[in-house]
C-alpha cells in the first residue's frame, strides 16, 4: 500500500511569534511559527490580520528572533529549529517569499539536549546572535555587513559550559559597547555526585553575562551571580541612553531587576485571590515596548493575567520596580506589541487574537512595588488582586485555532453534499465542538427581497476609471430593474436602460458608455445621455452575448454570430457575421489585454457537445482556431488567466497561462489551457462541481480576476500564493452573480437566489475549512455520534478545577464582597449555552480558577448539533472524571442502544499514577435520545480508558486487562478476561471475531474471542514499542496507529499468517500457548510509516467528497488536519515518488532540515509520498520547474494537473 499524505489544514496553533518590519519601511508585520509552518501576518487597515505568506519548512521550529542591522530599515528573521543549523531569512516583498540569507551548520539534527536551537537571543543593536541548547552549548555568531551592504555572518564562537542547564537567554542592551548576552544557568555536576542530596538542595541558579569581545573575536564569561531558584525567563531592559540596561529576571512569584554592579530590585507578582496557596505564579510570555521617552514590559502569567512592569530609574540606577495589573487575556505562547498600537496574542490553546490598546495602564490599579516589598517569617508578603474585565485592551480580530484537536469524526450528519468534520477542540473553558466544512466562509452583507423572481444580475461602473460600481441591474422574466449604488441602494429610472424588457447582458463599453443587450437588440447609452439602438434583423432574437470592454459578440437564434467592436469615436460598429451550424449554447470573450485593441479569442459552445475557439483578429476574423469536444453540452464559458508560478509583480519571467473554463450540463467544470498565440487547446482537466450545470462569472479577489462557479453550491476559483484553488463556498445555491464594489465593500459579490438579492464578501482566502463552533464547558475528551438521532454525546473532564456549583458560589461571594466595583450580576453557569460578551468574568477569557491538582470535574453532554442546543448535561459528582465512551447494544435488546461511560475517581498522575475508584456507568436514552438516565454503575479495578461493543456485549480495557461484560440488572457482569496486556489499554476496535487492542506503550495486539470456550486470547502483536495516541481499524488484517512522537504507521498481519489463523480449528490457540519474544506467537508487519511532526490525536477513515476515495484523516494537537490517500495505480506511485525525489534534491526545505531525515525522524519513512512537498512544485522558479518536468518526461503543466487531480480526489 502506498499513501499520498496531504495536509488539509495547516497547524493553527502558534509556537512563537515575533514582530517587526520584515518588508521594510514602517509596516508592522508578525512572523509566527506554527510548528512546521512559518507564516507572515500583517494587520490591514481595518485591523484584520491577513496572512501574506505561509511556508511549510519540513522541520520543527523551536524559536524565532528578529534583528535589524544598525541604520537599516528592515528586520531579518533568525530561526532556531531541529535542523542543527542557524538560518537567517529575509522577506522578499517582490516575490512574496522568504529568502534564505544564511544557513550555518553547527551540530546534529533533531531536538537534542546539547544541540542549540532551543533558545535565541539577539544583541539589541543587531550585531550578534546567540543560539543556545537546553544544556551546555551556546554559540554566538557575529553579524555584519560587507562592502555591498549585504548581511554577513561569522563562524561560531563558543560559550559552552558543560553540566549546565540553561533556562533562558537574552541579549543585554549596552549601547554600542561589546555585545553581552545573559543566561539563567543551573550547574548539576555536584548534585549528580552527592548521594546525601545536600548538593542538590544547594544547587543554585546563576545569572551569567557572556561578553562578545568584537575586537578579539572571543566570548568570555563576564559576570555570574546567584539568582532566585525559580527563575525561568529573561527580558532585555533597554540601555545605552534609553534606559538602565540589565535584565528582568522572571521567577516563580517574583520579578527581579538585575545588572552587573547593581543591587537586585525585587517585587512580587500579584496573585489572584482565589489561587490555592501551594501554587506559584510563573511568567510564561513577555513583551517589551519602547518609545522615545519611555518603555514598559508586559508580562503574562500562566493564568492569563498581564502585568505592566515599569522601572523607575535615574540613569543607570533603578530605584523602583513596579508591577501593575494590566488586563487578563487567555494564556499566550508569545505576546507582540506592535508600534501601531496593537497587541498580538498567540494563544496556547484556542483562537489567537489581535487587541488594540485603549490605554497603557496609567490608571490606578493593584500594584506591587519593590519599595513596598515586605519580608515576613513565611517569606515575602503577597499582593492580591481580582481579575476584572478588559480596561486597557480591546479585541479587534481573532484567528481561529483548532489547537488542540482532541477527537474528530467525519460523517454527513446534516445530509449535505459533502460530509462534515466534527472535531472537539480547545481546553478548559475555551473548548468547543467545531463543525468543519470544506469551503470558504462567506460573510453576508445584505439581503433584500425583490418584487419578482430575478433571472440575472449585473453591476456596472459609469466610467472605466471609477473605483466603485454605479448600478446594479437586475433582470426579470419580462422587465429590468436598475438600482443605483450610493449611500443607499435605490431604484432609479433615469439611467437610460430599457426597463420593459428582460436583459441578456449589461456592461460598460468603451471608456464611459453603457450597453444593455436585450432579446431584440443592443442599447448603447452614451455618457451624454444619447442612446443608440441596434435592432435584430427580422424576427430573430438574441440568445447569447459575450462581451468585454471593447468587443461584443451576440448569437442570434438559429446560430448566427454577429461581432461588434467599439471604434475610436466610441461607436459600436458591426464588424463581421458568421453562421454557426446550430444554436449557440454559450459565448465568452477574453478581456482585452493591457495595451491592446482587442482580445483575440472568442469561445463558442454548441449543443453538439463542442467548444470552438474563433479568432477575432481582423485578418482571420471568425476563423475557427481549434475545437474541443466535451462530454455534455456546455452551459457557460469563461476565460481566466492563471499565473502558473509566483513571479515578479509584472509577471514577466513567469508568463500567465490563459485557461478556458466551461461549465457543462452534467455538472462538470472543464478547464483547458489556451495557447496565447495559436488558440490551440491543450491540457484539459475536469472536475465535478455539483448537480447543476455550473454557471461561470468573473469576479475580483484581491485585485485579481477570479472565477465564481454556481452549481448546486457556489465555488470560487482563485489564485492563492501561486496556486490555483477551486474551493466551495459555504453558502446557499445561487442563480446568477456579479462582482460588486462599493464604498462599504471593496470586493464583494452580488447574487440572486430565489426572489432575493444578496451581497456578500468572501473571507479568509486560502483556508480549506470553515467552521461553526459550539462552546463546551470542560476539556472535551471523546465523543460518539448517533447518526439516526443526529445527536452528539461527549465527555468532558478537567483536572484541578472547581465544579460548576463551587465556582458559582465563589463568584457570588466575590461580587457581593463590599468595595468591589463590578456590578454583581452573577454569571449564568451554563456558559456553554449563553456566551455573552457582557458577562463581567467570562471563564473563556479568564480561565477557571485553579484548585488542588487532585480534583477533577467532568460532565457528560448530549448535544443536538443542528440547533447547537445541549439537551442533557450530567455533571459527574464526587471527583469523578469520564475518560471513555461508547454506545452499546446488548444482545438481549431489552433496552436498545445504551451508553457506556468509563470513569475514574480521584485520578492522580504524580508522583505515581493512582486512583481511588473506577466505574463503568451505563445510561439509557430517553425522550428520543435527548436525555440520559443512569441505569447502573459498576465498580472496576482499573481506569477504563477504552470501551467498545462486541457481539452484543461490552468490551472494556480496564488498565492492563481486557474484559468482556454483559448487562445485568444491577451491574455489569464479567464474562471473560485477558490480563496479558503490557501496560494500559487505550483503544479497542473490533471486526468480525477479531479484536484490535491498542496499548498505551506497546502498539497493537490482535485478539480473538472464542465463543465456545469463552476465551479471549492474543494471537499477534507488534515488535515495536509504540506510545499509541490514536488508532483506526483499516481492514481485516490492518490497523493504523499514531504514536506520541508524531508518527503515523500502519501494521498488517501477513496474509499467510492470517489465513492460517482463520483456517486453524483452534484458531492458532496451540501456537498462542507457545508465544514468541515474550509476546504473541505471530508478529504484525509495519507496512506504512510517516513522521507527521505533530502529535496525532485522532485518526478516522473517511471520504471527504462524494465519490472520492476513502482516506485516513488525522487531526493533531497543534490543530492541523491531514489526509492519507492510498494510490490506486502503480504509475501514479512512480510519478509522485520521482517528483518527490527531484523536489528533495532541487528544492531543499527552507530551514535547513533534510526532508527525508525529517519524515524519517523516528523510523524510516515507508511507502508514503509527501504531498506537501510535491505541492511546492508551483512555487519553484520556472526554469527549475521545466528541468524537473523534463526529467519526468512531462511538461510543468502536466505536473500541475496531476497535483490538482490528486488533491481533488481527497477534497
Amino acid at each position: 500500500m502506498y499513501l499520498y499524505s496531504l495536509t488539509l489544514q495547516q497547524p493553527t496553533g502558534i509556537i512563537c511569534a515575533i514582530n517587526g518590519s520584515f518588508s521594510g519601511g514602517k509596516v508592522q508585520e508578525i512572523v509566527v511559527a506554527r510548528g512546521k509552518v512559518l507564516d507572515l501576518l500583517r494587520p490591514d487597515d481595518n485591523g484584520k490580520l491577513q496572512t501574506l505568506l505561509s511556508v511549510e519548512i519540513f522541520g520543527a521550529i523551536r524559536s524565532l528572533a528578529q534583528f535589524r542591522l544598525t541604520g537599516a530599515q528592515k528586520d531579518y528573521i533568525v530561526v532556531g529549529s531541529d535542523s542543527g543549523r542557524i538560518v537567517i531569512l529575509e522577506y522578499n516583498k517582490e516575490k512574496n517569499c522568504f529568502d534564505k540569507v544564511h544557513q550555518e551548520t553547527f551540530g546534529k539534527s533533531g531536538c537534542r539536549r546539547i544541540v542549540p536551537g532551543q533558545y535565541l537571543a539577539i544583541d539589541p543593536k543587531g550585531r550578534a546572535v546567540m543560539i543556545g541548547a537546553c544544556e551546555k552549548q551556546k554559540l554566538v555568531y557575529v553579524l555584519n555587513r560587507d562592502t555591498a551592504a549585504r548581511l554577513t555572518i561569522s563562524s561560531p564562537l563558543e560559550a559552552h559550559k558543560s553540566h549546565t542547564i540553561t533556562f533562558s537567554i537574552c541579549g543585554v542592551d549596552c549601547g554600542f559597547d561589546n555585545p553581552i548576552f545573559a543566561a539563567i544557568e543551573l550547574d548539576y555536576s555536584e548534585a549528580d555526585q552527592d548521594p546525601t542530596g545536600q548538593a542538590a538542595n544547594e544547587a543554585q541558579k546563576h545569572l551569567t553575562f557572556y561578553e562578545l569581545d568584537l575586537g578579539l573575536n572571543h566570548v568570555s564569561r563576564k559576570w555570574s551571580e546567584q539568582v532566585d531558584n525559580g527563575a525561568n525567563l529573561l527580558v532585555t531592559v533597554p540601555g545605552g541612553g534609553d534606559g538602565p540596561s540589565g535584565v528582568l529576571v522572571c521567577a516563580e512569584n517574583f520579578v527581579i531587576y538585575k545588572n552587573q554592579g547593581h543591587p537586585d530590585v525585587r517585587a512580587v507578582i500579584p496573585r489572584r485571590v482565589d489561587l490555592p496557596a501551594e501554587r506559584g505564579v510563573l511568567i510564561v510570555s513577555a513583551a517589551m515596548h519602547k518609545q522615545k521617552s519611555m518603555f514598559f514590559f508586559l508580562l503574562q502569567t500562566e493564568y492569563g493575567d498581564i502585568f505592566k512592569v515599569t522601572l523607575d530609574h535615574d540613569n543607570d540606577r533603578v530605584k523602583e520596580l513596579k508591577i501593575k495589573y494590566f488586563d487578563t487575556i487567555p494564556v499566550t505562547s508569545s505576546l507582540c506589541v506592535l508600534k501601531s498600537g496593537f497587541l498580538f496574542a498567540s494563544s496556547e490553546f484556542g483562537n489567537h487574537a489581535l487587541y488594540q490598546f485603549q490605554a497603557i495602564g496609567d490608571d490606578p490599579d493593584v500594584e506591587a512595588s519593590s519599595s513596598t516589598l515586605m519580608e515576613t517569617e513565611e517569606g515575602f508578603q503577597p499582593v492580591f488582586f481580582q481579575p476584572r474585565k478588559l480596561k486597557n485592551l480591546v479585541r479587534i480580530d481573532q484567528i481561529e485555532s483548532l489547537m488542540p484537536i482532541m477527537d474528530m469524526k467525519i460523517i454527513n450528519l446534516f445530509e449535505e453534499e459533502t460530509p462534515q468534520i466534527f472535531s472537539l477542540c480547545g481546553r478548559g473553558p475555551r473548548s468547543s465542538l467545531r463543525i468543519l466544512r470544506p469551503g470558504l466562509a462567506v460573510s453576508e452583507m445584505a439581503v433584500s427581497q425583490l418584487p419578482g423572481v430575478p433571472s440575472a444580475v449585473w453591476t456596472v461602473k459609469k466610467n472605466v476609471n471609477d473605483e466603485f460600481d454605479a448600478y446594479i441591474v437586475v433582470s426579470f422574466a419580462n422587465a429590468t430593474l436598475v438600482l443605483s449604488i450610493g449611500e443607499t441602494v435605490e431604484e432609479v429610472s433615469d439611467s437610460g436602460f430599457l426597463d420593459t424588457t428582460p436583459s441578456l447582458a449589461v456592461s460598460l463599453i468603451g471608456d464611459d458608455s453603457l450597453m444593455q443587450v436585450h432579446p431584440s437588440g443592443i442599447r448603447h447609452i452614451r455618457e451624454d445621455g444619447r442612446i443608440n439602438e441596434w435592432r435584430t434583423p427580422g424576427k430573430r432574437t438574441i440568445v447569447k452575448v459575450g462581451s468585454n470592454r471593447l468587443q461584443v459578440v451576440i448569437a442570434l437564434s438559429g446560430g448566427e454570430l454577429i461581432y461588434f467592436e467599439v471604434d475610436m469615436t466610441g461607436q459600436l460598429m458591426e464588424v463581421e457575421k458568421h453562421e454557426m451550424s446550430g444554436d449557440v449554447a454559450c459565448l465568452d470573450i477574453a478581456p482585452v489585454p493591457e495595451g491592446r485593441q482587442r482580445s483575440r479569442f472568442l469561445a463558442v459552445g454548441s449543443y453538439d457537445n463542442t467548444i470552438r475557439i474563433l479568432s477575432l483578429d481582423p485578418d482571420d476574423c471568425m476563423q475557427v482556431l481549434s475545437l474541443q469536444s466535451v462530454s455534455s453540452p456546455p452551459e457557460s464559458l469563461l476565460f481566466l488567466e492563471v499565473q502558473a508560478s509566483v513571479g515578479g509583480e509584472d509577471g514577466a519571467d513567469h508568463p500567465a497561462s490563459l485557461f478556458l473554463n466551461a461549465g457543462l450540463q452534467n455538472g462538470v467544470l472543464f478547464r483547458t489551457v489556451v495557447d496565447m498565440i495559436s488558440g490551440q487547446l491543450s491540457d484539459a482537466r475536469s472536475r465535478f462541481l455539483g448537480l447543476r450545470a455550473p454557471k461561470l462569472f468573473s469576479i475580483v479577489v484581491r485585485g485579481r480576476r477570479a472565477m465564481l462557479c454556481l452549481s448546486s453550491r457556489p465555488w470560487l476559483g482563485y489564485i492563492h500564493q501561486g496556486h490555483f484553488l477551486l474551493t466551495p463556498l459555504s453558502y446557499e445555491t445561487l442563480e446568477f452573480a456579479a462582482s460588486f464594489s462599493s464604498d462599504q465593500c471593496a470586493e464583494g459579490v452580488v447574487a440572486v437566489a430565489g426572489d432575493a438579492l444578496r451581497v456578500f464578501t468572501i473571507e479568509r482566502l486560502g483556508e480549506t475549512f470553515n467552521e461553526t463552533a459550539i462552546p463546551l464547558r470542560y476539556t472535551p475528551r471523546r465523543f460518539v455520534l448517533q447518526p439516526k438521532r443526529k445527536m452528539v454525546i461527549m465527555i468532558e473532564s478537567d483536572q484541578g478545577a472547581y465544579t460548576a456549583e463551587e465556582r458559582e458560589a465563589a463568584k457570588k461571594e466575590c461580587f457581593e464582597a463590599p468595595g468591589n466595583g463590578e456590578n454583581g450580576n452573577a454569571e449564568q453557569m451554563e456558559n456553554g449555552e449563553d456566551e455573552d460578551g457582557n458577562d463581567p468574568l467570562s471563564d473563556e477569557q479568564y480561565g477557571y480558577p485553579k484548585s488542588e491538582s487532585g480534583r477533577w470535574v467532568s460532565c457528560i453532554r448530549v448535544l443536538d448539533p443542528r440547533t447547537t442546543q445541549t439537551t442533557c448535561l450530567l455533571e459527574l459528582q464526587d471527583n469523578e472524571a469520564a475518560f471513555s465512551i461508547c454506545t452499546v447494544n446488548f444482545h438481549d435488546k431489552e433496552h436498545g442502544a445504551l451508553l457506556a461511560v468509563g470513569t475514574a475517581k480521584g485520578l492522580q498522575f504524580w508522583p505515581k499514577k493512582s486512583f481511588e475508584a473506577a466505574y463503568i456507568h451505563i445510561y439509557k436514552f430517553k425522550e428520543d435520545g435527548k436525555v440520559l438516565e443512569l441505569l447502573h454503575k459498576t465498580q472496576v479495578d482499573g481506569v477504563p480508558l477504552a470501551l467498545c461493543q462486541f457481539q452484543g456485549r461490552l468490551l472494556a480495557g480496564i488498565g492492563s486487562v481486557l474484559r468482556l461484560y454483559d448487562l445485568g440488572k444491577k451491574r455489569l457482569l464479567r464474562k471473560c478476561e485477558n490480563k496479558l496486556f503490557p501496560n494500559s489499554i487505550t483503544a479497542i476496535h473490533t471486526y468480525r471475531d477479531r479484536i484490535y487492542v491498542g496499548d498505551m506503550q506497546e502498539s497493537f495486539h490482535y485478539c480473538k474471542y472464542r465463543r465456545d470456550e469463552n476465551q479471549l486470547y492474543i494471537f499477534a502483536d507488534d515488535t515495536v514499542p509504540r506510545w499509541l495516541t490514536a488508532a483506526q481499524h483499516v481492514d481485516f488484517d490492518t490497523v493504523a496507529g499514531a504514536d506520541k512522537f508524531g508518527n503515523i504507521y500502519f501494521v498488517r498481519l501477513p496474509q499467510d499468517v492470517s489465513d492460517e489463523i482463520e483456517e486453524d480449528p483452534t484458531g492458532g490457540k496451540i501456537k498462542w500457548e507457545q508465544g514468541k519474544l515474550n509476546g504473541a506467537p505471530n508478529k504484525v508487519e509495519e507496512i506504512v510509516q510517516f513522521h507527521v511532526g505533530d502529535v496525532v490525536s485522532c485518526l478516522q477513515r473517511a471520504s471527504l467528497i462524494p465519490g472520492g476515495g476513502e482516506c485516513v484523516i488525522y487531526g493533531t494537537v497543534m490543530g492541523s488536519v491531514g489526509a492519507m490517500l492510498p494510490f490506486t495505480s502503480r504509475d501514479d506511485v512512480d510519478f509522485f515518488s520521482h517528483l518527490e525525489m527531484h523536489l528533495r534534491q532541487e528544492f531543499p526545505p527552507l530551514c535547513g532540515r533534510d526532508h527525508m531525515a525529517y519524515r524519517s525522524a523516528y523510523f524510516p519513512v515507508k511507502d508514503v509520498i509527501d504531498g506537501d512537498l510535491c505541492e511546492q512544485f508551483p512555487t519553484l522558479p520556472m526554469d527549475m520547474q521545466r528541468k524537473i518536468a523534463d526529467e519526468l518526461d512531462r511538461t510543468p503543466g502536466e505536473i500541475l494537473k496531476k497535483l490538482e487531480e490528486i488533491r481533488n480526489k481527497i477534497i
Binding site: A60, R112, Y188, G197, V284, M1118
Partner: protein
C-alpha cells in the same frame, strides 16, 4: 601526549565523551545511564512543542509551566544518586 596517542581508541573515546554529553563508557552505572536517558527525554519534550502541549492538556497546566517543570526536573531526574562503593 604523543602524536600516536591521538589515534588510540581510548583517547578517541575520551574526545567523544567530552564533546557529546551522554556518550557511555564501560563503567557506566545503571543510575548514570538512567539519568542521561531522562535528561534526553526531558530535553526532547521541551524541544517538541506539540509534545509539551500534549502534556499540558493531560495535566491541565499552561505550556509555559510544563516547560519550566521539565527543565527543573533535569536537575535530579532519577532522584538522589546511590551511595558510591569506594573501590
Amino acid at each position: 601526549m604523543q602524536a600516536s596517542d591521538r589515534f588510540n581508541i581510548n583517547s578517541q573515546l575520551e574526545h567523544l565523551q567530552a564533546k557529546y554529553v551522554g556518550t557511555g563508557h564501560a563503567d557506566l552505572t545503571r543510575f548514570e545511564w538512567a539519568v542521561n536517558i531522562q535528561r534526553d527525554s526531558y530535553a526532547s519534550y521541551v524541544g517538541h512543542y506539540p509534545m509539551l502541549a500534549y502534556f499540558a492538556i493531560a495535566e491541565n497546566e499552561s505550556i509555559g509551566r510544563e516547560r519550566y517543570n521539565f527543565m527543573q526536573k533535569m536537575l535530579l531526574p532519577c532522584g538522589l544518586p546511590p551511595e558510591r562503593e569506594d573501590d
